[in-house]
């Protein structure tokens, strides 16, 4: 089959699917009808005064700091104001000690609003402006009941989740295993803030599986490791398939971020030629010494190169793919 023919075939297939979805899109619009516009609230400074007359600079947590954030720039008419997020809260204004605001974000408050209510407050803008969180609905975080303010603190001058050094603490408050993995012997520079959780994941939903920032694992990894993108003359199928076939990106005891130590890792898939051999710990430095009838033949003191030191990678070092015409065995 010629490549051009294949391209035509796949191109047509993609186009067919695209047209199909455009029809579905139009059908949904007809079936459900457009959503009505949202009610408007008082976003002005005058509106804020109803709140800041009590919630002033002496409040138990810094409230007015929101005016240092993007949410507090009144020169930008889109900024929400207190009521934009917390609701008009007329009952609370009338009875501050007895009635809570319409939307309560305080996680330890007994009047904490539901996740849906809190998220609706944020999405009122962030799903309806030009920077809409298009993929939030139906994403794993959304369906698992994550609220926006589980990660974001709208009143903070510097949000922990937006600071590369502190972001892992925020994500790790739920993803504790991954946070623990970031401390392992072999790891990405996550603790130093040079690689962040959001370097690889789009927590608001994405086109990729597992909330990946890009469409696939490999597209995500090669944003930094572009030298492994290829295409290579000699491709290694599990590499083109997914980097995580061999690597565990959040941290490992085995460098470099390996799931299993070489040569065992390679032998899980390769059983031909010398890869079929049993490489055990016999006579490895620091391991058990084995003998033949009590005798140690010279030359048997050391295991084969495949089972020692760098193992298979001592020779098969271009394991991510080779562009050398003689590199089919990933040695060139």
């Amino acid at each position: 089959m010629q490549p051009a023919t294949i391209a035509d075939q796949y191109g047509k297939e993609t186009m067919r699917k695209l047209i199909r979805f455009i029809l579905i899109f139009a059908g949904a619009a007809i079936l459900f009808g457009a959503r009505p516009a949202q009610a408007q609230v008082d976003r002005s400074l005058e509106g804020d005064k109803k709140c800041t007359m009590c919630h002033d600079e002496n409040w138990t947590k810094p409230i007015l700091t929101i005016y240092q954030t993007k949410h507090g720039v009144k020169g930008d008419k889109r900024t929400p104001g207190c009521q934009g997020c917390h609701g008009e809260s007329l009952q609370h204004q009338g009875d501050p000690g007895g009635k809570s605001p319409e939307v309560v974000f305080g996680k330890k408050s007994k009047n904490l609003s539901t996740v849906a209510t809190r998220n609706a407050s944020c999405l009122a803008c962030h799903e309806n402006d030009t920077l809409a969180r298009s993929h939030w609905s139906g994403s794993k975080h959304e369906t698992h009941g994550v609220a926006c303010n589980d990660c974001h603190d709208g009143h903070a001058i510097t949000q922990k989740v937006l600071n590369p050094v502190t972001q892992p603490q925020v994500c790790g408050s739920c993803h504790k295993t991954q946070l623990a993995q970031s401390h392992r012997f072999s790891r990405h520079p996550i603790l130093e803030g040079k690689v962040t959780c959001s370097s690889c994941h789009n927590v608001h939903g994405s086109d990729g599986n597992t909330l990946l920032a890009k469409e696939t694992v490999n597209q995500t990894c090669t944003t930094c490791h572009a030298e492994k993108r290829g295409p290579f003359l000699w491709e290694h199928q599990p590499v083109t398939d997914s980097c995580i076939n061999c690597h565990t990106p959040h941290g490992s005891n085995l460098s470099p971020l390996l799931k299993v130590k070489v040569p065992t890792l390679c032998q899980t898939c390769h059983t031909s030629d010398h890869a079929k051999n049993l490489y055990s710990g016999a006579n490895l430095p620091g391991g058990n010494v084995t003998t033949a009838n009590g005798q140690i033949p010279l030359g048997s003191l050391n295991p084969p190169a495949q089972g020692n030191a760098r193992g298979c990678l001592g020779c098969h070092s271009t394991i991510h793919g080779s562009n050398h015409p003689a590199g089919a065995k990933f040695q060139r």
């Binding site: 089959m1 490549p3 391209a7 796949y10 695209l18 979805f21 579905i24 899109f25 959503r35 600079e57 007015l64 005016y67 720039v73 009144k74 020169g75 889109r78 996740v115 309806n128 030009t130 298009s134 993929h135 609905s137 510097t158 050094v165 504790k176 623990a180 993995q181 392992r184 572009a226 993108r229 290829g230 295409p231 997914s242 490992s252 005891n253 032998q267 899980t268 898939c269 390769h270 049993l278 055990s280 006579n283 490895l284 620091g286 003998t291 009838n293 010279l298 190169a305 020692n308 030191a309 760098r310 001592g314 098969h316 271009t318 562009n323 015409p325 590199g327 065995k329 040695q331 060139r332």
Partner: protein, 902 residues
Amino acid sequence: MTTSAKKTGTDCNRPGCVRGDIIACLLLLVFFGSSTQAYSQANPTTAAPAATAPTAASQTTPGKTADFGVGGVSGSSYKFGEYNGLQNSGPFGVGNFDFRGGAAYDSNSAWRWQMKGTDLGLETRSLYAEFGKQGKFRVYGSYSEMLANRSDSFQTPYLGAGTNNFTLPSTWLLPVVAQKSATAQNFRGLDPIAGSGSYYSTAGVLTAPTAAQLLTNATIRAADLPLFHNVNLSTKRTKVEFGMKLQLASNVYVPVSYSYEHKSGLKALGAVTSQVSENSVILPIPIDFDTSQANAAVFYRFKQLLVSAAYYGSYFTDNINSYTYQDVADLTKSATLATAPSNQFNQFTFTAMEKFKHNAKLVVSGSYGRNTQDDPFITAAQNGQLAFGLPTASLHGLVVSSLVNAKFTAEPAKKWNVVAHYRYANRDNQTPVNTYYFQDANESKSGTSAFAGLYGNPATLGSNTNIYANRPYSDKTNQAEGEAEYAIAKKQWFAGEYKWEKVDRSCPGSWIDCSDARTTSEHTLGASWNKTSVAGFTGRATYDYSWRRGAYNENAFLALVPMANQVPTGGASQSLYSFLKSTGLNGFGPLTNLPGVALTGDAAIYTPLNNAVPQGLYGSRNAINELLGLRRYTVADRNRQKAFVDLDWQATEKFTLHANGEADSNDFINSTYGVKKDLFWEATLDASYTTANAFVLDVYYTYDHKRMRFRGDAYGSNSTTAFVGQAADTLVAGGCFPTVATKNASAKIDPCLSYTKDDTNKYDTAGFTLSKSAGNLQLAAQVLYNRGRSYTEVAGGSYVNNPLALAAPAPALPAGTPAVFYIAAQNYPTIRDDEFTITPTASYVFKKKTTLKAFYLFQKMMSSDWAYLGMQYGTGTNYLPSNEIAPNYAISAGGLSLLYAF
């Protein structure tokens, strides 16, 4: 608070008024940029200025902080400073700043700007600046450095580190163990103990080395060992990024950005010197990469419809196209490694989102991308490796990726949420397929290929010439899933999910199906329960069961060797592929021992003695068929169970308890060989206590357990050989057969050659953090202990010949003495890493705007890994030692700085 009271910020509503601040910032940058080092903000508590008495102005006015001081490191270790820049002992500078300014929040202006710098003195420094008019535009730029220290103990005798040409000093002597062979390379000779052992003479006598042999060994060591010199291995990325975000209208938003990154340094890479002898060296290869990335998008909203179109481009350039290195065993030869080829990726993405009644939302997105690579091939044919020329000067590589993604979410009724999702992803590799002829590394052509001069092949092909075709892998994924969630009580939901995934794999242009499983389909059924914030209790539990099935193709390897579809010389009546189709066999041949009667015809040629197909009959230097029954786990049939439980209990306002557990079990049900079972589970407990007087204590523990079990078989070849050395040496001790003859007759199916490996990784992470504020003093500490243990348990064994079972003139073994021993496999030594870290910090506000900060970091690492032990002199026979050692250290770093807020 009144509006006027809050108008204490910078009353600036035009860009020009920020000029003075920016100039001041740049002067500071120039001054402090020349300082030595600064401490990274590993402990975030050091970055936060201590609280001062709150005022409306201080809370509402964008502020400026500068943090400068000195610190010191007690010792040097690449691992301690792997990413934080603290790899060298000695003093360093502390430098961080964060300047923000712009219009007052309550003015009509939306101008804002920020300049920020961290770790200014270290090689991990970063700078960031932005300014803009919120709601209209924002311009930003950044500069950052990222260090990756890789080794400070790497040694090599090669000259030329930092270049791509590695040569050995003229005084280099080939290391041998003279008493074993005066000419055969043997790196054990570099160690005075390992290289001075006794050996068995041809007479079967254990013989100590002679004085002359010992002198030879000593001469080699005296010549070679001083040539090993230290080369520090590290790489560094330097990145510059600029971007702009434009809100052209209330419904039109355009972000664009461009980044350029340069990566340079040295890292270790294995390089084979002799493929036949399996000899290799480790080279300190130079890294010199440039990567540019561009992003641009347009978002347009029309009522409830949002559409966007985006472009992403990534352009990678490797400024080095090859590494050449002298053969450590023969200084007259050299070899060349190819580097990663430069490549380009251009991708266009579109998204459309429409919201409807009932909170219904439909999002459709798609993309089209082209990944190209056309770097010229290496043509230097060292040692005749590419003696037959190339079919093309470069790959003309092209991978077209496309995606269509559609997600529909809705609340069709009060208590119901539904999600329907479909995803189609296609990675279509359109790279042309060609046939390449090459010799293995350092191996001269010999013999005559069974395909020489036929089917367009050169007439001079050797029997050891590889005739390979590239395999451009493509895959196409279809996914569909549906989820329905029902509120069974207030703040409590139950959800059910079904997911289907089908993956098609192929190699367009390949002469035969290249994929181990052309199609796999996986179905997943899931259920979850979710409860949020009821009486301080939040919980979630999920369970998924999946099953994946596919038709496995054990002859997929033939795609690499196009001669498998041609009839070889030597008497065969058909091609290998035709033979395998007609017999139902794969390249492994029949699963049996020596045939009862001599095979005839094609069977005698393709599966002689019922063994695997001879590699020469498909144009390969190596046997590349796999074991019958092997299923590669990435596509093998499997049943999968996943469970997750998460519980969070806010017991009181002060005390919170959080626990979770997760398990993921994969059974590869139809895999006789390969991965049989893959299991992961973890558990975490986290307790947090907070008092009203600003005391916070958080204690946590995580245990993580991963286990993979696989089965292999070190099968041999059936043969009629009945003795070792001499005719009387026939006994086998242990194993599954009593004699050499019976063992060899069933070498291919000997059950004692079957083995299993259990690879287990166990991790413990425990620690606590605490912080306490008292007046102007703020104290914080983090204590962390992390332990990783990796075990590889091996069950099985190998046959080893009795070293005294030698051919004449050595004497025959005494009667009853085994000629072959079966030696049980041993578990690998445990790999263990223990890391203990304590990070206390303190800050004290001694003036209204000035804070004194102190930090201390102590880390102790104890690391052991047999891989490092195997890199020392004398521990390997056929690879050049690099003498790298596992990192073990106890290092402190600390410092003082003044943080000034203005």
